[in-house]
């Protein structure tokens, strides 16, 4: 077999890509099987980390008859349990999410200052007297967009039903979408 000037055998160089049948089975199939099983194992682990059932509160709740809530008021009744304000105007209910759009803290409703104020980084959102279109709009602090609204409907027994799984964003013009408020005069 021909040898190069430095005495090495160019035919035997590992850098020469000329796989024999044995190389093919050892390299492609052998390593292929190893890498494939590692890849499948990694994917399985990622899937393992997402359980099928989450032990979290349900997203839909009955919150009682509309008459329980005073006209033109902001109810903080459900803040602790369900994390939203039920705001009642003359002609409608709105379920305003109490999840700050900055980094997810719970703002406080400051009735005297007519605003929702986040204690974490000072984001402020428009209060009741800004009207139902502007309710929850961000106007101070780092919050990038208005508070979201949850879907409202009237249940069979006359109870208000709030669905936290469906949200509406007034910055995307969804304030008048069906479900974004509950008409009630």
């Amino acid at each position: 077999m021909a040898k190069a000037e430095d005495g090495t055998n160019p035919e035997a160089s590992i850098w020469r890509f000329a796989p024999t049948r044995r190389d093919f089975f050892a390299g492609f199939l052998g390593w292929g099987a190893v890498l494939t099983s590692l890849g499948i194992g990694t994917l399985a682990f990622v899937r393992f980390m997402y359980p099928r059932v989450l032990f979290e509160p349900p997203s839909q709740f009955k919150i009682g008859a509309p008459g329980l809530y005073g006209v033109n008021s902001v109810s903080t009744k459900w803040i602790k349990a369900l994390r939203f304000w039920l705001v009642r105007y003359d002609d409608r209910f709105i379920a305003l999410s109490a999840l700050c759009t900055h980094l997810g803290c719970t703002p406080r409703y400051l009735a005297t200052e007519d605003k929702f104020k986040c204690p974490c980084h000072g984001s402020g959102f428009r209060g009741f007297s800004s009207g139902w279109t502007q309710l929850g709009a961000n106007y101070e602090g780092p919050a990038p967009r208005p508070l979201e609204r949850f879907k409202l409907s009237l249940g069979g027994a006359g109870d208000i039903v709030v669905n936290k799984g469906k949200t509406y964003r007034i910055d995307q013009g969804q304030d008048s979408d069906p479900g974004a408020f509950l008409p009630y005069a």
Partner: protein, 255 residues
């Protein structure tokens, strides 16, 4: 015949010689062998340059960081004897450690303050390495390892923050993990999220928090990350880091 002391008797015994294979013969060769044939001592370099001991040059910040890591490991394991990472017990176990378990308060506070100090020491270590130009070739790869160790330190701080399971923990981790929503591709509020079809239930943040909310499942997940996963990763990186310090020519000297 010369009288032998008790220590000479012990040293000449079969058991002693089976443990320590080299005697105290004061030759260069024997001194090197004493170090290099002992599993604990061989972690030290057999010889170092004089400047490596100058505190004004190194600040010993890398060594202090490692010492703090060791203290954190020991106190952390001690805390694990009482702490249960479940929603019902975590907060009360933390209070139990503080107010009832003998020496519980000092173990918890040592863990807490050493954690703070470790972050500071890591920054000072990086500052020293930067100001002395020790990141330059042939040490550039070790700088990269070091940056990864910085990330490990911060991740340990972050995951440990949730474990007391009080209001401060929960909101700090709420804020921290919510940044994960904006991860490109993998976060449901980040750019290109629609390409992979991720939503709030299945995205990078939900992987970390085990669901949409910070809850008991998050606590358990952070506990495993804090006690097993990240320390193991950090230890492996530390092994490489210390190894490379020596293989790249020891601690860099003053110019």
């Amino acid at each position: 015949m010369e009288k032998k002391g008790w220590f000479d008797v012990v040293q000449s015994s079969y058991v002693w010689k089976s443990i320590f294979r080299h005697e105290y013969q004061d030759t260069y060769r024997n001194r090197v062998l004493q170090i290099s044939t002992n599993v604990f001592l061989h972690l030290h370099p057999t010889k170092i340059r004089r400047h490596a001991l100058r505190l004004r040059f190194t600040w010993c910040m890398g060594g202090i960081t490692f010492l703090l890591f060791l203290i954190l490991t020991v106190t952390g394991v001690i805390l694990m004897f009482y702490y249960r990472p479940t929603g019902e017990y975590a907060y009360h176990d933390m209070k139990y450690l503080q107010f009832d378990v003998p020496f519980g308060m000092i173990m918890r506070n040592m863990h807490r303050w050493c954690a703070h100090a470790m972050v500071i020491a890591v920054w000072l270590h990086m500052f020293r390495v930067f100001m002395t130009g020790s990141y330059k070739p042939p040490r550039e790869f070790n700088w990269v390892i070091g940056v990864n160790l910085l990330v490990m330190t911060l991740m340990l701080s972050f995951t440990g923050y949730l474990l007391p399971w009080d209001q401060l923990s929960i909101w700090a981790v709420t804020v921290g993990t919510n940044m994960g929503r904006a991860t490109p591709l993998l976060g449901h509020e980040g750019p290109f999220a629609e390409l992979l079809g991720v939503d709030a239930r299945y995205d990078a943040r939900a992987l970390l928090t085990a669901g949409r909310l910070i809850g008991p499942a998050t606590l358990l997940r952070f506990y495993v990350l804090h006690c097993i996963f990240i320390p193991l990763l950090a230890a492996i990186l530390m092994i490489v880091h210390f190894w490379r310090v020596r293989k790249d020519g020891g601690i860099s000297g003053p110019l």
